[in-house]
């Protein structure tokens, strides 16, 4: 199975422009997440979704929005990009139906540079 796919692999974006990072999973997991990874800071949670139709804010949500129209897709949108959003973005999913935290599966990441 493909697991989690992310697109694009990398992108250079002018400051002030908008962009949507795509994430799709084929594992029918109910929960999905977006993290950003920055050198020396590890991974920080941006937004998450427990199930289709619901979303929540993570540690660093400002400047980002998400939607969860269905189980498989969880796009991340930057409405007006700024250079501090230069980062590597990882999408992840997990099966939360048991009511406990289970393994998160990660996509390959999107490397975004905002100039």
């Amino acid at each position: 199975t493909a697991g989690i796919t992310q697109a694009p692999t990398s992108q250079i974006l002018a400051a002030g422009r908008s962009m949507t990072l795509r994430c799709t999973q084929d594992m029918r997991h109910n929960a999905m997440y977006w993290y950003r990874q920055d050198l020396g800071l590890g991974l920080r949670l941006i937004h998450y979704s427990n199930t289709a139709g619901t979303t929540g804010k993570g540690e660093v949500p400002d400047g980002y929005s998400v939607s969860r129209a269905n189980t498989d897709d969880f796009p991340l949108t930057l409405a007006s990009a700024v250079p501090s959003q230069t980062s590597v973005y990882f999408c992840a999913s997990s099966d939360q139906t048991s009511g406990s935290m289970d393994t998160q599966y990660f996509g390959p990441g999107t490397r975004l540079t905002v100039l």
């Binding site: 929960a31 993290y35 020396g40 590890g42 949670l45 427990n50 997990s94 935290m101």
Partner: protein, 116 residues
């Protein structure tokens, strides 16, 4: 406040030598505990996890970790490292409420370098 610490930013080990990566957490209750590995240019892969029960957990690639409640630690070990183990390692506790899907809290990572 809840926190996780990986005290070692970089560790250099000779191939064939043993390895221990440290992880300490500060939570009100015992969290679920995970170790993930990230190879260069790749996403994260689960090495092992601890939920309850036996405090010595076996994972993939010959790794193991021991949960020590008294020390609030969950250190990762491997008896003999291979050059392919060179990667970034992340400890990640989770202490959300039942059914909570508010993500993991990741340590800042330990970069493992393998010397030939």
């Amino acid at each position: 406040a809840q926190s996780v610490t990986q005290p070692d930013i970089h560790i250099t080990v000779s191939e064939g030598a043993s390895l221990e990566l440290r992880c300490n957490y500060s939570y009100g209750a015992t969290p679920y505990l995970f170790w993930y590995v990230q190879s260069p240019g790749q996403g994260l892969q689960l090495l092992l996890k601890y939920f309850s029960g036996d405090t010595l957990v076996q994972g993939i690639k010959g790794f193991e970790a021991e949960f020590k409640r008294s020390q609030s630690s969950f250190n990762l070990r491997k008896p003999s490292v291979h050059w392919s183990d060179a990667a970034e390692y992340f400890c990640a506790p989770f202490a959300g409420s039942g059914g909570g899907a508010d993500g993991l809290t990741f340590g800042k990572g330990t970069h493992l370098i393998i010397q030939p």
